[in-house]
């Protein structure tokens, strides 16, 4: 048994070491936030996710697409079927070609993907001094540090320290590697008016939009945590029963 523990320890040490090695790449240690979806029993705070969608829609979507999200997905964070239809209907979506061979615009439907601000990457770059605002549907999974990192970036803008030379058009961000960040600070107090009356401070908006984005990247989390609990409980019971059976069967040998 000691050998088993030793082996487990070496494997864990190895895994931990690589994780640490990866994390050590960052500029500053990331401040840890508290998220409703943290931990084994975590779930998405739907009210927060809805506020986050509002922040995305009114602020971020000017530059950033969420191409893997469909309007119908919004039902998962608590919007009703009618609300989803209304949200979709508020967008113009390109469809076609029609019988004349032309592409045309029509109001969005629930089954449509949420359209992005630009028709293609080149248009996006042209509108943003050559920088490409990345798609946000997976951003939380695509960055080391996940939600904490995105939150830190959104709240990490400050004046560059004395003597630090900023490149043309860049913004100083504490948590971005190299500190030269192409995106200007997107959030300012009361940039958005929340429907539920929550005061729209920068930390609040950042918190909510990160909750929304984490859901966007990982919509299965609630399901996954719930079914995971059942599976693991089942396996614990099964392990116990199989162990007892093993001891019983092996009794004459020992």
């Amino acid at each position: 048994m000691a050998k088993r523990a030793f082996a487990a320890a070496t494997v864990s040490a190895f895994v931990l070491a690589s994780a640490i090695a990866w994390a050590a790449d960052e500029t500053l240690p990331l401040p840890r936030q508290e998220w409703s979806f943290d931990g084994v029993f975590g779930t998405y705070d739907r009210a927060s996710a809805q506020r986050g969608f509002q922040v995305y829609k009114e602020v971020c979507s000017v530059c950033h697409p969420v191409k893997h999200l469909h309007f119908r997905d919004l039902a998962e964070i608590g919007y009703s079927e009618d609300e989803v239809k209304a949200i979709a209907g508020g967008y113009q979506v390109t469809d076609g070609p029609n019988d004349e061979g032309q592409m045309y615009q029509r109001p969005g439907r629930a089954s449509d993907p949420i359209p992005g601000p630009f028709p293609n990457d080149q248009a996006a770059r042209a509108a943003n001094n050559g920088a490409l605002p990345p798609d946000q549907s997976l951003i939380v999974k695509a960055r080391a540090g996940g939600p904490d990192y995105v939150y830190a970036i959104l709240t990490g803008y400050k004046e560059p320290p004395a003597g630090f030379k900023m490149l043309e058009g860049m913004n100083y961000n504490e948590y971005f590697a190299g500190h030269q960040f192409a995106m200007p600070p997107p959030l300012s107090d009361n940039a958005v008016t929340f429907a539920d009356g929550t005061p729209a401070t920068v930390p609040q908006m950042a918190h909510d939009v990160v909750t929304f984005l984490t859901w966007a990247a990982e919509p299965n989390l609630d399901d996954r945590h719930r079914s995971g609990l059942k599976v693991i409980l089942f396996l614990v019971v099964a392990a116990g029963v199989f162990y007892a059976a093993k001891r019983k069967i092996w009794a004459p040998i020992h």
């Binding site: 089942f234 199989f242 069967i249």
Partner: protein
């Protein structure tokens, strides 16, 4: 697992029944585990959420003049929308249904008599019948004509001649008895599915 008990002890040991129970429990747990695991993997083959989302389509009927017909795509199949003329409606209603291969009243096949909405797939072997475009052969009953094996449908899309066994399906209808899956959801708008 029961044969283990037979293998290892034909003599009755005191711990024997406890071991049987344990093995039985272990077997049951294993069985439940396997069955419970299989279902999600099989379920991946059922229609996915994006497929289900595309299962509804809305059609604007305003541009379809009387006597005109439109074909729309729905769930991967063509759906015939016919804006019937009064003559077509009369002809459809006047038929003696006891003479039909697949007896069905015209009133059972439409919600509004001037709009006939059916799935445009021949019930013989699946070709798409002609009759939607001007100039198409509509067959002797002025409905639709399937060029593959000569099935003829009337102005209610019921089978009249040829090898097809059944009338053209109403959208979503698997048996003739169930409700057709479309609704008129607005001025000149029909939602199918």
């Amino acid at each position: 697992m029961a044969d283990v008990a037979q293998q290892n002890g034909s003599e009755a040991h005191p711990g024997e029944t406890r071991r049987d129970f344990l093995l039985l429990t272990a077997g049951a747990i294993g069985g439940v585990g396997i069955v419970a695991t299989i279902w999600p993997f099989v379920d991946t083959l059922n229609p996915a959420r994006d497929t289900l989302a595309l299962s509804t389509t809305e059609v604007d009927l305003a541009p379809i003049q009387i006597g005109q017909r439109l074909t729309v795509a729905w769930r991967g199949q063509p759906v015939f929308i016919a804006h019937r003329t009064p003559e077509e409606i009369k002809a459809a209603e006047a038929v003696d249904i006891s003479q039909l291969r697949d007896p069905q009243k015209d009133s059972d096949r439409v919600r509004k008599p001037e709009w006939l909405i059916v799935v445009g797939v021949c019930t013989h072997l699946g070709c798409i019948p002609l009759g939607q475009k001007t100039g198409d052969d509509r067959g002797p009953f002025g409905g639709w004509f399937c060029p593959c094996h000569g099935s003829v449908y009337d102005t209610s899309a019921r089978i009249r001649q040829g090898p097809a066994p059944l009338n053209l399906w109403l959208p979503g209808q698997v048996e003739q008895a169930s409700q057709a899956l479309y609704k008129f959801t607005g001025e000149n708008v029909v939602t199918i599915g």
